[in-house]
Amino acid sequence: MSSRPKLTREQVAARAALELRDGDCVNLGWGIPNLVSNFVPAGITVYFHSENGILGMGPRAQAGEEDYDVVDAMKVPVTVIPGASFFDQGTAHLMSRGGHLDLSMLGGLQVAENGDFANWKIPGAKGSGGIGGAMDIATGARRLIVCMEHETKEGAPKLVRRCTYPLTALACVKRVITDLSVVDVTPDGFLLREVAPGWIPQEVQQHTEARLIVRGEVPEIKLASR
């Protein structure tokens, strides 16, 4: 096992932010994705989508300037940027489910090597659970990136051969960004694209249930400078 640390949540978010392209319309889900908007590369504009009816969501509102009629999907008062629009929740999900967003990033519990995705329910957990917008977003995503820890707090693998948790959507994930790696879902399975600084592919494999395909040199994750 490597003695190097795993990436922090912020570092995972910073790496994920490198996926953003100028002008993209992007939905960010709960968890690590929610941090990604703090790391938008300089010089580009990204239009964040919120499923409660915003395209062009800006940063959190400053203290004292909150408008509680302008909130994100986590109830946090936010701002909007020039070119933003408000619409109803059905139109918001027409965008997500209909494949209109350039990119969606969601937190995850399990991703399988066939792209199956589970992020809403841990079997046996107490409470009712809840789905929220995740199923519409995952199913309709043109490009879905899951940002999550590589393993659970208990050390169970989250990149798995087959999901054992209730699914969010079938065969929908394109890329997974974790605190140990960047992995693509390919027709052949998980392809290891990048590893955390100081880690080597074999070490990452030891933390992964599914087989990681390694082709040539696997570079280290470069973190966004900002």
């Binding site: 408008d67 809840g130 519409d136 309709g140």
Partner: protein, 227 residues
């Protein structure tokens, strides 16, 4: 002319019977018809079915109705971990719950108002949401059949209404409200302000008055204390 204006929120909800099926608008603290919800709690109808995105925060929003045992059945997307009263009842097996993906919830409500008798979507295929539902492969994609969701009442919140019931909403307080307005037999809206007929821009109206049956200007319980 139909008289839609109600003097009080209590008058607006007076005839809601026990056992009614009710849409409740609102999301993320914004656009909840909190004054109508409080009035319904005072009125005392029980055995209600609530169709809603979530189930309240503590005593807030729908929380009070769960606290007082008014609701026996829920169709929701994300009841929420902070919906304490709901979660207690759910854990005790005292409440029925159907979980619906959020966008599908929107579409099922819209369908009921639009004369659509059901639709297929890929959302939910291969998940527990599809349990007991018809599946069909369309265009190579596994899809699931969803039936419309109608209700006897919609409790919604808007920003302004004119005297006819044309509505505009404020920013993200729009959320589920316009969708629910089209699908209920009786749509009851609480608004911050009532304006004269003709003063809303015809192009800016979000909910045309044909969908609105009762209007009440509500003062008192806001979503949160605004800064």
């Amino acid at each position: 002319m139909k008289q839609k204006l109600c003097d009080t929120v209590d008058a607006a909800v007076a005839d809601v019977p026990s056992g009614a099926r009710i849409f409740f608008g609102g999301f993320g603290g914004a656009g909840f018809p909190n004054n109508l919800i409080q009035a319904l709690d005072r009125q005392g109808a029980s055995e209600l079915t609530a169709i809603t995105n979530n189930c309240g925060s503590g005593d807030g929003e729908l929380g009070i109705l769960f606290k007082h045992g008014r609701i026996r059945s829920v169709i929701a997307s994300f009841p929420g971990p902070h919906a304490r009263h709901f979660q207690d009842l759910y854990a005790a097996g005292k409440i029925a719950l159907e979980l619906v993906p959020q966008g599908i919830l929107c579409e099922r409500i819209r369908a009921a108002g639009a004369g659509i008798y059901g639709f297929y979507a890929a959302v939910g295929a291969g998940t527990p949401v599809a349990d007991g539902r018809e599946e069909r492969v369309i265009g190579g994609r596994r899809t699931v059949f969803y039936e419309p969701l109608a209700a006897e009442f919609a409790f919604i919140k808007a920003w302004k209404a004119d005297g006819l019931g044309n509505l505009i909403y404020r920013k993200t307080a729009r959320n589920f409200n316009p969708l629910m307005a089209v699908a209920a037999k009786t749509t009851i809206v609480e608004v911050e302000e009532i304006v004269s007929v003709g003063s809303l821009d015809p192009e800016a109206v979000v909910t045309p008055f044909v969908f609105v049956h009762r209007i009440v200007q509500a003062r008192g319980i806001h979503n949160v204390v605004k800064a």
